[in-house]
Symmetry: D2
């Protein structure tokens, strides 16, 4: 960390600041320039409050040099993390497609979709049992029954399942869930992050609508600091001024995250755009940008979907899209399985 001291600061003030920093267990390297004095803080600065220091009268500017995350940092773990679930690998050159309906509606529905997406090539089944809805009057998901039906679909098709956990209280219901999703709205529900950090299940962590990549990595750090190091990051669009799409897919975050962390990065082209007609092109773009996987909404009867139907592909559209993905994956130096 670097602290730039104002040029008109008194010697005594600077010495007080240096002392305060040393009290935090850090070494200080002082460099006197023409217009300002620069303090270089040496040691573990992750606990220094940048905001606090920056308000001191004598401080011109404070700049963190080290990232505030450790476990998820590629610097300290240069090799890609590869997460294997039921023989399917994500990360480190392996690419997977997760597909399924927004909500689980019935045992029959989820089995039908599972069979269809499996046939097209998907290797994971997704489906919401607990649904975060903006309105208290909207359908909130089948809850425990939804998970039961997902497990039934897994039994029928062999596809491992991915579904969202919204509350610490429901955690026991998720014991047999292959990949537990933490949704965008809970990305900074720190208590929930700590709880799933204690589990062995892989975690699919979605980026919040208005969260920076650094905040996403800090949330992954929360999970990892509790012991669970099987985390898949997921870009699902950010909130901007543009309203032509529901959110703005931040496609460049894929290579940026790959530079900062060893964790795999997948993309949700369905929620990010909000329109099924944009899903094929955004899926293709994500593969070509280097994503390690996709999570796509597929429904066997979009018009009657209980929620988010507008962004679901039909089974036929998904099959067609998968054929294109197959061509693009090897060009992006990735492989399935």
């Amino acid at each position: 960390m670097i602290i730039v001291v104002k040029r008109d600061s008194k010697k005594e003030q600077i010495e007080n600041l240096i002392e305060w920093v040393k009290d935090l267990g850090l070494d200080v390297h002082v460099s006197v320039g023409q217009n300002s004095t620069v303090l270089g803080l040496i040691g573990d600065t992750s606990k220094v409050d940048v905001d606090l220091v920056s308000t001191l009268d004598i401080v011109e500017k404070v700049q963190r040099v080290q990232e505030p995350y450790k476990n998820v940092n590629r610097k300290f773990h240069p090799d890609d993390t590869v997460i294997e679930v039921a023989g399917n690998k994500i990360g480190g050159g392996y690419f997977q497609v997760i597909a399924g309906p927004c909500s689980v509606e019935s045992e029959k529905q989820i089995i039908a979709v599972a069979e269809s997406v499996k046939k097209s090539g998907a290797t994971f089944l997704r489906g919401g049992a607990f649904k975060p809805r903006t309105s208290p009057y909207a359908f909130q998901g089948l809850g425990a029954d939804g998970i039961k039906y997902l497990l039934k679909a897994k039994e029928e098709t062999g596809l491992p399942i991915v579904t969202e956990l919204m509350s610490e209280r429901d955690i026991d219901l998720f014991a047999d869930v292959d990949v537990i999703q933490i949704g965008a709205r809970n990305m900074q529900n720190f208590n929930l992050l700590k709880e799933v950090g204690k589990l062995n299940n892989p975690i699919l962590l979605k980026r919040g609508l208005a969260n920076t990549l650094q905040e996403l990595l800090m949330s992954a750090e929360y999970i990892m600091s509790e012991g669970n190091d099987r985390i898949i990051l997921c870009e699902r669009g950010i909130r901007t001024f543009e309203t032509a799409t529901r959110n703005t897919l931040d496609i460049a975050c894929i290579p940026v995250l790959h530079g900062l962390t060893h964790l795999p990065v997948i993309v949700d082209p369905s929620h990010s755009t909000g329109f099924s007609r944009l899903v094929p092109s955004m899926s293709a773009a994500s593969v070509s940008a280097g994503a390690d996987g996709l999570i796509i909404e597929v429904h066997n009867d979009p018009i009657h979907a209980l929620c988010d139907g507008a962004q679901s592909l039909s089974c036929e559209q998904f099959e067609e899209l998968f054929a294109k993905i197959k061509m693009l994956v090897p060009i992006a130096d990735k492989k399935f399985r």
Copy 2:
């Protein structure tokens, strides 16, 4: 709700759509124009999925006419809600100032701050016991002990207390808390909203960093739909491209919210700007914009604050600010108590 049908749609398709709408229990008023047919949906349209309808082949545009919230809607409850806590009223022309440190650090500290802010004129004491921190390595608050110290400070000074609840699991610890705060990061933690909706304590609901006013009102609707109608809304800055301040204080949301809802609206000038030097002017601006109250961070020793010190006023600065607030409140047609 209005559905505009594309001009080249087939008669049969339109009839199918009308039938589908009627199946939802709604009446339909059809209006045939030059370039397009317009369907007016009559009845309770809050359950119609706008996104779904808008993806139908024959649909040009869908527009909701009614707001999706009811209980918090001023249309159906024209009179201001006035929330009274220990004799202090917020809303309906009454103005209150909540003050205190970011975090409770010790019994001694919280009592000292409480005594000081009370002397200056504050009528509520705030202080964090459970702290949402971006980093798992940052100070997370004293937890249950923090609440114990707050209650002790209340006993000493008579000031009712405001503190943040982060997890459903901690709810029992908050029984004696006068006003329970739901933080910005939990504004769409729907399970938590439902739980506090079942309580009798007034709720201070902070707007999320990237949430629209409609979403804020929908979250208040979650609480109210469970029975708790004592909700104070709080603007605390939104995330934008500008980095000169920590967040952008959306000051215009005060009159906008007053138009849409009967609930009181207060402002947090400390978190929104992130700098103590901006707190006085933003407090004054909020009063003049019509806010029903302020929640301000005050600390007796900012440099040693464990978190967020950069945005805390000293007790002396708070006293000076309060003197100015006293002049502005009556000009804004508000009164204390």
Copy 3:
């Protein structure tokens, strides 16, 4: 256009409003519902001021049904516009790559880059002669000399040239420029748009940093309404809260624009990200998302580039990237030439 009237409006007020609308030369279709009366405005509503109407006491909501643009609207011109420059076609299935340095620095430099990018496969040469710089103290381009050197490079290599016009006063210098670029900061310099609308040169219109797609189309409409219908739209990143990249590449705008307009859409992966290491993946993503071309910064000596070097590829990196683009273009159902 649809106007929803408040339910407690007086009959007389509604009649006044209808009369006012009719005075604008429009027909009105009145539909009386349970809670509100809906007026459907029939005719050319492009001149009705939505904001004005929405402030009238009796108006609940106003909603435009038709897009406010005509010439650029795909509805009225369903076939793709194909722009041909020196035998190179853009749009309608044809894909082109424009490459070159941020700034023209010397005759020698621009010819060297031109020869290199041509060898790699680029079919247009870009280079800035007039540079929009945030700081008055930064290099502002070689001006007229820059254009002279570009034309020299064209003479040597046969590559048509693309360069930015910043001021109406310089327009005569651009007579021989093959494609005139209007930069992001001038997207709403309406006088400049009108002037280039009177020319025959194709226009490369860059999206402003914080402009919606509708505003981009309205700016294209400005140009087209003056007679020039050879417009190439260019996405170059929008301003959001995320600071990990210079701007956020709005990749989904490619299919969205293709739905709304018949004009070709290209992407600038260099300016949007601000880092050369992100250019290859964002170029690949743009091709797979359906872009009609790319405009890429390439420099023969990045470290000494006078501006924006951070986002320039070396000639070798560009050659490698072009090899990948060649594989992706046919998969996206596009072809060169």
Copy 4:
């Protein structure tokens, strides 16, 4: 400027970098830490390309210490700039209200509004002659005639006039205009900035919709670097995700700008919100936040305004608002004249 070098960099690479910096005429102070080497650049770093340096292989991070603006910087000019026009002072404790219609519509209209706002207390008349409109089909202003009518109104009332210049070509028409406005969309029309920098007329520079405060100051620096130091900065709302208001009024920019620059800062509450009902509260908030003035839209017949009527106050509403402003100005330690 500080350059943090990666810890695994070779000695030779670091020496090359130091040499390169010295070639730019700067001194370098080297500080070797545990994990990284820090270079402190001493001298005028305003011409060093931060983006370029940050892409070098061996560079971890680059941080500017000095602001890139000089003339507008309060550090080098601690005293407030006071701009006097026809005896009315803005800045340095003086507060003014500019009022008038969005567009000049006729001689009669502008004189009527001028007389009314003068009676209420306004000391400047505003009115658009050249109007930047998103649509080529919208009313574009009366042009030269508009300025003629404004000058006539000035003759009648003595009020100095403020009106917008959109094009370098029209500059001669503005010789007698008391304050020349540069609109939000032209804030980075650098050629126009340079031209008005050569004039003697005071310039009202509006912040762009998506421009940072630093960019606003750099645009002011463009004007000042050409010799014109009479600049009034104007906040008029920024573009965010929130759609309840047209733009988000960034009220905190007032004290932030006052800290960074000596130039006066005024607020436009009309354009920023887009609704006349929000103008009174936002005007009051701006005064209390420390603004040096307001520019308010006032119309004698809002329903027939040719543009932006939705955000105009009637003359009666303006009179009422002015009475409140009079109470707030002294509390904000400001005075009229």
